[in-house]
């Protein structure tokens, strides 16, 4: 297990950290993002999208209502999932395994589900108004 920490002073820092991770992303990887409301989960995934060469990375928006947004990257896709609205996982079938075959899956509010697959965990801690401590845990 590999643990790294970053400090972000603003959304642009969060983008940059996400971008670095996105550049190294490989097809089939599952990313689980933990953090309270406003911690910067969507901003982090925007950065990842940029790193993956997704052209409209600036328009990677929150999938809270749609549940899932799919973006085509240079080499593989980004499937951006948000379980914020989900009360019970039995109620939905998102077939995340299927999307892992075509790219990476990044999940916000992963606490709503039990994950059977190995995942890269990203934990965004709110330090103060603007500052975040971003922990990256690779299995």
């Amino acid at each position: 297990m590999e643990r790294t920490e970053f400090i972000s002073k603003n959304p642009f820092d969060t983008w940059q950290i996400g971008e670095r991770l996105g550049k190294m992303a490989k097809k089939g990887e599952l990313y689980l993002l933990y953090g309270e409301l406003g911690a910067g989960k969507t901003q982090f995934i925007k950065g990842m999208a940029r790193g993956m060469g997704i052209e409209d990375w600036e328009y990677v928006v929150s999938p809270s209502f749609t549940l899932m947004n799919i973006y085509e990257g240079k080499k593989f896709n980004l499937c951006h999932v948000d379980l914020y609205r989900i009360e019970s996982m039995e109620a939905i079938e998102l077939n995340i395994e299927e999307y892992l075959q075509e790219g990476i899956v990044a999940v916000e509010w992963p606490e709503k589900k039990d994950w059977q697959i190995d995942a890269i965990k990203i934990i965004l801690h709110v330090i103060d108004d603007d500052t975040r401590k971003i922990e990256l845990i690779k299995p």
Partner: protein, 334 residues
């Protein structure tokens, strides 16, 4: 001319029959009927499965209420995106089935465009016009150049306006759906109580960002106590920041394209305080502002049908192998 409209792009299963542009014979929306009582069994909360289980019944409900038989339908309009792809496909495949069996044309409709066109269910307005679509899942500005011809000229870069309201309501433990609850609590509030930021207001684009506003609220709430004494004021101020952001960009769009006809639609457009705010500002700025009635602002299939009407009249039909899509690709407007 009878147009059938179908929408399964998100949570709702909706079917509608319209006769001509603005005669709604039926508009059935699944959340508005007691599914448990009507169809029995456990209804999945948010699932393509739910759409599959009820679409046939909703369709029949719409046909019966319209007092027509399915053979009378002239064209079938269906949302083919954007939305949760598994859900979109249910309506799309159902529509294709109908199209093939009834031998009637299929018309794929963009759900967001349909919100802009929902105004035609109630009145005729001239093209070109600008439309602001605000809901839980969407916040964008469309330039409606002529019937069946539009483009996205502005969009949120993170959270939708409705989503920001919903999340703050949840953060405060106010219940669901957040928008109407915040609207109700804001009515007695003073919108000048806190000056929340208007993100991207100074930027020359027509885009929005509400996640910074969400964070500003959370940061403020962590530093100040929110109680029964000030919650109305805090929420009124939060709403005001959202309305101000939205209207500010609408004005920019109006000036940039030299169009002063504006339609505001989508679920958040049913907020009465937003309507008041916008109407006042529109008057002061020589804007001709239109709002569909609240019932036509929230997701429904009548707006799909009326958009389909225009496509049908102009001869724009879809091939039977039309593919659904989940997301509108936004190109940044320079």
């Amino acid at each position: 001319m009878l147009i059938l409209g179908i929408d399964t792009s998100c949570d709702e299963t909706s079917v509608s029959v319209i006769d001509g542009k603005n005669n709604i014979l039926s508009s059935i929306v699944s959340s508005q009927i007691d599914l448990h009582k009507r169809f029995g069994g456990v209804v999945p909360e948010i699932a393509s499965r739910k759409h599959v289980e009820i679409i046939d019944s909703i369709f029949h409900e719409a046909i019966d209420k319209a007092n027509i038989s399915k053979e009378n339908i002239d064209a079938i309009a269906v949302t083919y995106g954007p939305g949760l792809i598994g859900s979109v496909l249910v309506g799309l495949c159902f529509a294709k089935g109908l199209s093939l069996s009834l031998n009637k044309p299929l018309i794929g409709i963009n759900h967001v465009e349909a919100h802009a066109m929902s105004i035609f269910l109630e009145k005729d307005i001239e093209f070109p016009f600008i439309s602001l679509i605000i809901s839980g899942g969407h916040t964008c500005i469309l330039l409606m150049e002529k019937p069946c011809n539009y483009r996205v000229i502005g969009s949120t870069r993170d959270d939708a306006a409705g989503e920001a309201l919903d999340k703050i309501a949840k953060f405060l433990g106010l219940g669901y759906p957040g928008g109407p609850i915040i609207e109700k609590l804001s009515q007695k509030g003073n919108a000048d109580y806190v000056l929340f930021p208007r993100p991207m207001a100074d930027e020359d684009n027509l885009d929005f960002s509400f996640s910074g506003l969400k964070t500003a609220f959370i940061n403020w709430a962590k530093r100040h106590k929110i109680s029964d004494g000030n919650i109305h004021h805090v929420l009124a101020s939060f709403q005001e920041a959202i309305f101000d952001s939205l209207f500010g960009k609408l004005m920019k769009a109006s000036k940039r394209y030299n169009i002063n006809r504006i339609v505001v639609a989508g679920g958040v457009a049913s907020n009465s305080m937003l309507r008041t705010f916008f109407n006042e500002k529109a008057k002061a700025n020589n804007i001709e502002l239109f709002f569909p009635s609240p019932i036509n602002c929230t997701d429904n299939a009548a707006m799909i049908a009326v958009t389909g009407y225009f496509y049908y009249k102009n001869g724009f039909l879809s091939p039977i192998d039309l593919k659904g899509f989940s997301r509108m690709v936004i190109k940044a407007t320079p």
